[in-house]
């Protein structure tokens, strides 16, 4: 079974390495990710949000609602952990 999994993993890894042939080179300033959307954020973030840290400006100002929704994710995860791990008195009956 492990041999089949190893072959599958190597095949998928080879496919991904084949896919990197179309990726831009590492650190290329003209790569698509660095040249279409991000210059606007870098140039305007400080003037619009008064936050020197651009990452914080995008996270908390441009994507503020997304970050607020993220707190819901963390809250739900904490709630699930609390419900799963609490010591409930009727656990013995539940086991049956």
């Amino acid at each position: 079974m492990k041999v089949i999994i190893l072959i599958f993993v190597i095949l998928s890894g080879g496919l991904l390495i084949y896919g990197t042939m179309d990726m831009p080179a590492w650190g290329d300033p003209q790569s698509p990710a660095n040249s279409y959307v991000s210059p606007r954020y870098i140039e305007e973030a400080y003037a619009k949000t008064e936050t020197p840290n651009i990452v914080s400006a995008v996270l908390a100002d441009y994507r503020g609602y997304d970050t607020m929704g993220e707190t819901t994710v963390i809250f739900t995860a904490a709630l699930v952990c609390a419900f799963l791990l609490r010591k409930n008195s009727d656990e013995d009956e539940d086991k049956s």
Partner: protein, 134 residues
């Protein structure tokens, strides 16, 4: 060929890291080891995205040099790293922490009920239970 190797070698490390994580998720029988494999997988993807935002040359981290009090100076996009992959991966790290926490809680529950974390043993115990019920 040499340009190809020098330009793309970072992606290969992430592919190798991802393959290690995928193998651990599929082949390991211990549930905690499976979870560690999932974390390695997520780390590989996070590193991949962060590496997309890199610019070679004399560039700063995405914090405006001088900070407050430099309103008049022109900010050149070529002088700063791409901040957007960092922001998106910050979100991904939060989700990864949440999934890891919930998965660990579920693993603790499984251990309390079956007294083992080995997948095969859990399936065996469960089948015996089902046969006993029938």
């Amino acid at each position: 060929m040499l340009d190809f190797i020098i330009g793309k070698f970072n992606f290969w490390f992430y592919v190798i890291l991802m393959a290690v994580g995928l193998f651990a998720m599929l082949a390991k029988r211990n549930l905690v080891k499976k979870l560690i494999g999932m974390n390695i997988f997520q780390t590989a993807i996070i590193l991949f995205y962060v590496s997309i935002g890199v610019k070679k040359g004399n560039v700063h981290v995405p914090i405006i040099v001088g900070g407050h009090g430099h309103e008049g100076e022109l900010i050149q996009a070529a002088d700063y790293l791409n901040p957007l992959p960092h922001v998106l991966m910050l979100t991904a790290i939060v989700v990864s922490i949440a999934t890891t926490g919930v998965a660990l809680a579920i693993i603790i529950m499984i251990y309390r009920r079956y007294n083992t974390l080995n997948e095969d043993e859990i399936i065996e115990i469960r089948q015996k239970q089902l046969e006993a019920e029938v």
